[in-house]
């Protein structure tokens, strides 16, 4: 049995969304999400924009204050909202890091690459002297495929792919165990995406990293992840082994998500019948009652409106939340 590094239970994250007093409204960005990640594993998180996948990642790192739920890291409580336990984050920031989506916005334009990577080293007092600090910076840059002369340059001198490498080097500088990768490849060109994905895999093998890999591109997520969780409007709808999820999706939303991906194969594309979902994602300010997918689901009935479907393990390691699993398969 492998060791569970990350255990998330009933995570909730609401943001105030206008209104006062008892009319105050909340955006239910993440609602009742539970999952675990084993040490050395990659869990992919996919979903459309606004489904709460980024919020999930950020809340785990306490970049937002969680509204509810519990997060155990390496069996230690990071936060438990019910029991009002909150760990001091600084030592954990050394173990958990994040790589942001937009390599153009996440690097300070007035800092050199060396200082950007070195900032974390200073905060955590990892290096005892300037020489050591420099050595760590160079080592990290080398790991992500940059070299020592890059340390004195500024972000604007780099291409998107190189900037994303700097973002990764910054995350690696404190030698973390767990990295939240928040859409790290979406802003990159196709030919560069593969380079960065390969680098993530190499770094994982070398440094024994654990990833929470957030993206909306299911094919990239499938490639890098051991297991994949699919989110819709703040809730997790399905979670399974990545090959299993792609080949035998159980939830109607996952099915339509997979069929909506344009395949780079003209013959297959001509033959395949796409399940095209009607309409748009409802607003998280006022989500539908019961199953949140019911407004776009072809199988929805009264039960879906009345009851929230339970998160069940349907087969070993294959979870889904839907009333009509039998009907849709």
């Amino acid at each position: 049995m492998s060791e569970k590094l990350v255990q998330v239970e009933h995570l909730r994250q609401y943001f105030p969304g206008g209104g006062f007093g008892k009319h105050k409204k909340y955006i239910q960005a993440v609602d009742d999400v539970s999952f675990t990640i084993d040490r050395g594993e990659t869990l992919g998180l996919v979903g459309e924009s606004g489904c709460g996948k980024t919020t999930t990642g950020r809340t785990l790192l306490r970049l937002y204050e969680p509204t509810g739920g519990r997060f155990l890291y390496d069996n230690e409580v990071i936060f438990d909202v019910e029991k009002k336990q909150y760990a001091a984050m600084l030592p954990y920031r050394k173990k958990m890091q994040i790589v942001f989506q937009d390599p153009y916005a996440s690097l300070d334009p007035r800092m050199t690459i060396g200082d950007i990577v070195g900032e974390a080293i200073d905060v955590h007092k990892i290096a005892s002297n300037k020489q050591e600090r420099y050595e760590i910076i160079i080592e990290m840059l080398r790991r992500v495929g940059l070299n020592s002369e890059h340390a004195n340059r500024y972000p604007h001198e780099f291409s998107g792919g190189q900037r994303q490498r700097v973002g990764i080097a910054r995350a690696l500088a404190v030698k973390p165990e767990f990295i939240v990768c928040d859409e790290p490849i979406s802003a990159l060109d196709v030919s560069i995406q593969a380079q960065v994905i390969n680098m993530f895999e190499d770094l994982q093998a070398e440094m024994g990293l654990t990833y929470l890999f957030i993206a909306h591109d299911l094919s990239a997520v499938k490639h890098i992840s051991n297991r994949i969780g699919v989110m819709y409007l703040g809730r997790m709808v399905e979670l399974a082994d990545s090959y299993e999820l792609i080949t035998r999706p159980l939830h109607p939303y996952t099915k339509s998500l997979i069929s909506a991906i344009p395949v780079a194969d003209p013959k297959a594309a001509r033959d395949s019948k796409r399940i095209v979902l009607e309409g748009d994602v409802p607003s998280p300010l006022n989500p539908p009652s019961g199953c949140r997918f019911r407004t776009r689901c072809p199988y929805a009935d009264e039960q879906c409106a009345a009851q929230t479907p339970e998160w069940r393990e349907l087969e070993k390691g294959h979870f889904a939340a839907c009333h009509h699993i039998d009907k849709c398969n």
Binding site: D189, S191, Q193, A194, S219, A260, P262, A264, R274
Partner: protein
């Protein structure tokens, strides 16, 4: 007159920036028949948008057409004045941009913006234009069109806004619709809706479409012909089947290899194209892809390869293909002797 709807011949276009001349298009030739769907794929900066924009005369200062001829639907684009150009834009050729959030005007209602296009090119009166706008919204699958006409862009979702953009583009039933990454900013399920809609409309209205994208998946399902661009050149051109099943250029092969496959069980390592895209200010002397090419030969670094034809449609610009062709010829010659 040309037998084609679009006939671009040997177009060279440069942007004269303070940092130097950027040769955005280098000897690009494209022709399309009526009702054809052409996909242009390539990375950012490969010139795929510029090719299409130049057809609409949207490459003003500091862009300059150096050489070549652009023919579209009976017009010789390069000789036309701005005033003449305005008559064509939105009438015979329309464009949908990538970002539906920024391409609609936030202070006018949807109805206003659709009617603007109708007023510009037809002599319909207000009531007729409004009726046309309502029709268009119905055509692009927007429910409650009456209500939507009075709404502002911020009241609609991304997918809806892109539908409105399409409605505006189709207001005068253009012969050619240029779609510049129309679904890049949208989610996959919405992307599927929009692509489906575009194909439906194409069949209904019989317009030609130029689909600009970096997503090979999108072109595979939509396009009959595909042009792969790299550093301002069409490096490979062919039918969808040619490009996906028998790619001849190393860049096309690399692109296809680097896409993660959905249906493989074993974990395969991705084969990326190494290196970074070309710096367009200082492009390499020979083939622009040579510095990233695994099979780069000496001649690749010195000279731009000529065109090699495979069959009627399919062609590439690559020395390797030239070499193969030469060898094939030699063998033939040897056999004849």
């Amino acid at each position: 007159m040309s037998e084609y709807l679009v006939d671009i011949k040997n177009e060279r276009l440069s942007f004269f920036t303070p940092a130097g001349e950027v040769k955005a298009l280098n000897d690009v030739s494209i022709h399309m028949r009526e009702g054809e769907v052409l996909g242009i794929v390539g990375e950012s900066g490969s010139g795929k948008s510029v090719t299409a924009y130049s057809l609409m005369g949207l490459t003003a200062h500091p862009g300059k057409l150096i050489d070549g001829s652009l023919y579209f639907n009976g017009h010789q684009i390069e000789t036309m004045s701005d005033k003449e150009m305005r008559k064509i834009r939105g009438n015979e050729v329309s464009i949908i941009f990538q970002d539906p959030m920024t391409s609609l005007n936030p202070v006018y209602t949807i109805g206003n913006q659709i009617m603007e296009a109708v007023f510009l090119h037809t002599d319909k009166n207000r009531a007729q234009a409004k009726e046309r706008a309502r029709e268009l919204l119905e055509l692009v699958g927007i429910n409650e069109p009456e209500k939507r006409l009075r709404q502002y862009p911020h009241e609609l979702s991304g997918g809806m806004r892109q539908r409105v953009m399409i409605a505006i583009a189709l207001a005068c039933e253009p012969k050619l619709l240029i779609a510049d990454e129309p679904t890049t900013a949208l989610d996959v399920t919405i992307q599927a809706q929009i692509l489906e809609l575009m194909m439906e409309l194409k069949d209904k209205l019989g317009m030609a479409i130029i689909m600009i994208t970096h997503d090979l998946g999108v072109v595979a399902s939509m396009c009959e012909r595909i042009a792969v661009m790299y550093a301002g050149k069409i490096v490979e051109y062919g039918t969808a089947d040619d490009i996906f099943y028998s790619p001849k250029h190393e860049y096309t092969k690399g692109l296809i290899r680097s896409i993660p496959k959905l249906d493989t069980k074993e974990h395969e390592r991705l084969v990326p194209i190494e290196g970074t895209p070309v710096d367009m200010l200082n492009p390499p002397a020979g083939c622009p892809f040579a510095p990233r090419c695994d099979s780069c030969m000496k001649i690749c670094l010195r000279e731009m390869p000529p065109v090699t034809h495979f069959g009627r449609v399919h062609y590439t610009q690559c020395w390797l293909n030239q070499k193969e062709e030469m060898e094939a010829k030699q063998e033939k010659g040897a056999a004849n002797e």
